[in-house]
């Protein structure tokens, strides 16, 4: 594909001061088993090209699924006309420095390619998974799902960029709903999302985990409601990753800080002068943008603007030092950023997006954290999330929790929730788990931007302990 794009580029590069072509092909599978039968089998294979043309410091984008020379020329013409019209009222005048001429490649390390899988056998594993989820007669509904994305991207530009990247991403979910005597509870595995092949799905481990999920759904039926009050909150990585996403990731996006997202996803409580001065969290908080952590959902070597991706600290010892913004936003804001210019597919332009955003491991073992709690709740697995458009006031609910009293776990709790405000919350970070508690999570569903784009993100973190958190239960 690279040679085809380079050939096409040679015929259209005169359309602007700078021209690029980004070709994306995405193939995928989605298999859902429900209640011991196959419920949904969906596959997809879609490709197209985004043509980018810079005129007078403005970049126009035109997408087409038709790879013929005629179609690419037409797209380049559209992009040029748009860029020219926009240049009379552009928000900023860019130059080619925001599109570095890098050359290179990336490929996800994969042991078992999805493309080679015995798909019928895979559906049988999922069906058997639902049988394991039905741990007893109170389980009224069971789901087991596997989904993958194989993405091939080629990016070439008139100033010399030539980048080829192939990503393999996979998601695995198991879920059981239990109901008895008017009480209904759902438990899941948290929706595992990784960048790897089908080696994620170890058959025996999957069945064991499905059994656990089913048993915990049943256990919740007779659990006490989560108590209400201000107390310690011990948060497992399967919930903490979404807390990072919503209350660190989104507010640090430079395009939000610059106001691009104000009409849709929202603004940010962060101001440009906060970089280098704001104590975002306690001194135990270290947050990194890390596109290099193997198996995390959003590993890559180059972003969709061609910039080289490297690990960077965003928050160091609690201090905000860097934003989540790519070269265009860095140029506009004069704030240090990262290589996170990402598009959801060939038919959307790149914007500042999260990729892999992590909390670095600390030094406390899980036992040390539990033993340090006089009264608190240990929460697992998100079930509800909401935050304001400045990313300040949040509320989260979890599937499963345990009471901690006098340094010991004493009982299971249902309907656990907590709410708070971003920087006070992170400044209440009391202990950070060590590497033994560190887990890699992620999500294929981060929504943002106009036109809208869903992008896949990774978040890795240890278990963490927070103090003085407002916790409450259900009805």
């Amino acid at each position: 594909m690279k040679q085809e794009l380079l050939k096409a580029l040679s015929t259209i590069k005169g359309e602007g001061d700078w021209v690029a072509l980004r070709h994306v092909r995405e193939k995928g599978h989605y298999f859902m088993a429900r209640d011991a039968r196959l419920d949904n089998t969906t596959m997809w294979n879609d490709a197209g090209v985004m043509v980018e043309v810079m005129i007078n410091g403005q970049i126009g984008y035109a997408a087409t699924p038709d790879l013929s020379t005629t179609s690419l020329h037409a797209a380049a013409k559209r992009a040029r006309e748009q860029a020219f019209a926009a240049s009379k009222r552009g928000v900023f005048t860019f130059d080619q420095s925001v599109r570095p001429p890098n050359k290179g490649s990336y490929r996800t390390p994969v042991e078992k390619p999805f493309a080679d899988a015995d798909l019928a056998k895979l559906t049988e594993v999922l069906i058997k998974g639902t049988e394991k989820l039905k741990s007893n007669s109170s389980i009224i509904s069971t789901n087991a799902m596997a989904m993958n994305y194989d993405i091939d991207m080629v990016y070439v530009s008139s100033n010399g960029a030539e980048i080829e990247q192939s990503l393999s991403q996979i998601c695995l979910e198991s879920l059981a709903t239990a109901s008895k005597d008017g009480e209904t509870q759902t438990r899941s595995n948290g929706f595992i999302s990784k960048q790897m092949g089908l080696e994620l799905l170890n058959e025996n481990e999957f069945y064991t985990d499905c059994t656990r999920v089913g048993e915990e759904a049943y256990e919740l039926l007779s659990a006490e409601n989560c108590p209400s009050g201000t107390m310690d909150l011990l948060m497992a990585p399967n919930q903490l990753y979404l807390q990072i996403h919503e209350s660190i990731g989104h507010p640090l996006e430079l395009d939000r800080i610059l106001g691009d997202e104000r009409n849709y996803a929202g603004w940010s409580f962060i101001n440009p002068e906060d970089f280098g001065t704001l104590q975002y969290g306690s001194k135990l908080l270290n947050v990194t943008f890390d596109p290099t952590l193997k198996s995390e959902m959003a590993c890559y070597n180059f972003d969709d603007g061609g910039a080289k991706a490297e690990k960077e600290f965003l928050i160091k010892d609690g201090l905000l030092v860097r934003g989540l913004g790519a070269l265009e936003s860095q140029k506009r804001s004069d704030i240090p950023g990262v290589s996170n210019f990402r598009a959801s597919h060939w038919n959307r332009p790149p914007t500042d997006r999260m990729a892999n955003l992590n909390i670095e491991a600390g030094t406390s073992s899980l036992e040390e954290m539990i033993s340090g709690v006089e009264k608190g709740v240990f929460m697992n697995t998100n079930r509800s999330w909401s935050i304001d458009d400045y990313r300040n006031k949040f509320q989260f609910g979890c599937e499963y929790a345990q009471m901690i009293e006098n340094g010991k776990i004493t009982k299971t709790l249902k309907n656990p929730n907590y709410r708070g405000v971003t920087t006070p919350f992170w400044n209440n970070l009391k202990m950070v788990g060590d590497k033994s508690t560190f887990e890699i999570w992620g999500s294929p569903y981060c929504g943002k931007a106009e036109p809208n784009q869903v992008i896949r993100v990774g978040h890795a973190c240890p278990t963490c302990l927070f103090e003085n958190i407002e916790i409450f239960g259900g009805q």
Binding site: R37, L38, N40, T41, T42, M43, W44, N45, D46, A47, G48, Q58, G60, Y61, A62, A63, P65, D66, S68, R78, E81, Q82, A85, A86, K88, R89, G90, V91, L119, A120, T123, I127, S141, T184, T186, G259, D260, R262, N263, Y264, W267, N347, R348, P349, S384, S386, I387, D388, D389, K393, Q395, G397, R419, G447, E450, P451, Q453, V454, G474, Q475
Partner: protein, 446 residues
């Protein structure tokens, strides 16, 4: 022949070609999405990004006996290219299907008839649209997106069914900001662009924007009497649409309305909600080409009348299908109006909150119908029927059995259309129609 008619005929010919590759006992349904859209994104009343998208997606729904496979491929409009891609997909389906377990609830492929609707519009050219959109707002801080172009939804199957729906429109989804960075939200959507109407639309928002510069009030947590504008109500109906009225979700224990069924609970007599295709914003046919009824009462005067039932759920649970889509979500919701006149809204609030918009709603406890979310944009503190000041954003956490139940005091005698401006994956069509409501004791928690 118009360009759209050519697209339609080409799709039918393409479908027939593909159906000739089917073997005995196999059926195929094709769903087509096509669009030609221009997006211009704005910040500070200037252009941030412009994107034009020509795209197509073809969904193959392959059935052999009780085996069913969905396969989505790109659709370029080039018959040779598309047929090659679709044939590869079809062969993969044919190879995989015999090895899959049966889905006992796989819907039958039947001929659901023929329909064709084409709605055209008079819109500015892409290049001139940026000037038209920005000129009336150039002295203000504006952020937003202008979207323009046509969208097609079409469907055929191997039993002879043919449905086609195309629509052309534009929308300017925007917000305006004061120097203190306080905002109001606006939307101008049309099939016939008018500079004058657009100018009036902006002017309408400016009146509220002036109020936003007053000193902000920090309202403490607690219960307040509130007015939820049609825009705020549309956010609530939007979250209710997520698993709320799906019959499958009800049966699987995940519907917020389950308590209404199980415990025979009722909402307020003032609350009625229907699936209403007479609004004319979207096609009645679903992904199987089944034509939903023009109007289906879901909640009628507080009583749960119907869940949305797909043909698959119909087979699984032994109830009649009302030809809902696969997700069993509302495609054209319409909430009934009441008798509260616009000029009486502030008087009716008395002392409380006027909420124009809500943000980031989610079920905080779906089984008990509890929803959390934030206030956003133009929201005001009202005292003795007068707007006093804008408010600091507040988080609510409230039960729909309260705010659409005994807490629902009045419903406006007017409603407004909220067009579906979502562009995740593709450009959406449709929208919903909602009135404003007055609710007592609405809970704010942060």
């Amino acid at each position: 022949m118009t360009t759209m008619k050519k697209h339609e005929e080409n799709f039918y010919k393409f479908s027939d070609d593909l159906y000739s590759s089917l073997s005995e006992g196999e059926d195929l349904t094709l769903s087509l999405h096509l669009e030609d859209t221009f997006f211009a994104r704005f910040n500070q009343a200037k252009v941030r990004q412009t994107t034009s998208v020509v795209e197509g997606e073809l969904g193959l729904s392959f059935v052999r006996g009780k085996k069913k496979i969905e396969y989505n491929v790109g659709y370029t409009g080039d018959r040779e290219v598309d047929l090659a891609a679709a044939t590869v997909a079809l062969k993969e389906c044919q190879a995989l299907a015999p090895n899959l377990m049966d889905d006992p609830f796989c819907p039958d492929t039947i001929n659901n008839g023929t329909s064709s609707e084409n709605h055209t519009a008079t819109l500015p050219s892409h290049e001139s649209s940026m000037e038209k959109v920005l000129t009336p707002a150039s002295s203000y801080d504006l952020a937003g997106i202008y979207t323009s172009g046509w969208v097609v939804r079409a469907n055929t199957n191997s039993k002879g069914q043919k449905h086609w729906f195309s629509t052309e429109s534009c929308s300017m989804d925007y917000s305006l900001y004061t120097a203190k960075q306080r905002a109001v939200k606006g939307m101008y959507a049309t099939t016939n662009w008018s500079d004058e109407e657009y100018q009036q639309n902006i002017s309408g928002q400016l009146a509220q924007l002036e109020l936003m510069d007053r000193e902000k009030k920090i309202v403490p947590r607690g219960k307040y009497r509130v007015y939820l504008s049609p825009g705020a109500v549309s956010e609530i109906v939007g979250i209710i649409n997520w698993q709320g009225l799906s019959y499958s979700c009800f049966k699987q224990g995940r519907s917020a309305f389950k308590k209404m069924s199980d415990e025979n609970l009722k909402l307020s007599e003032k609350f009625s909600l229907s699936e209403d295709f007479s609004l004319g914003m979207t096609a009645r046919f679903n992904n199987l080409g089944e034509q939903a009824p023009e109007r289906l009462a879901l909640i009628d005067q507080g009583v749960l009348e119907n869940y949305l039932v797909s043909s698959k759920a119909s087979k699984e649970y032994g109830v009649e299908s009302n030809f809902a889509n696969q997700q069993e979500s509302m495609r054209s919701p319409n909430m009934s109006t009441g008798d509260l006149k616009r000029e009486d809204i502030l008087k009716e609030i008395g002392t409380g909150l006027y909420l124009s918009n809500l943000h980031y709603l989610n079920w905080s406890d779906i089984r008990h119908g509890r929803i959390t979310g934030m206030t956003r944009f133009a929201c005001f503190w009202v005292e003795d029927g007068e707007i006093i000041s804008p408010i600091q954003d507040m988080r609510f956490d409230e039960n729909m059995y309260h705010f659409f139940g005994d807490g629902l005091k009045r419903v406006t005698d007017f409603s407004e259309i909220a067009p579906n401006t979502s562009t995740y994956g593709h450009r959406s069509i449709g929208g919903m129609k909602t009135p404003g409501v007055i609710v007592d004791d609405f809970s704010f928690t942060l």
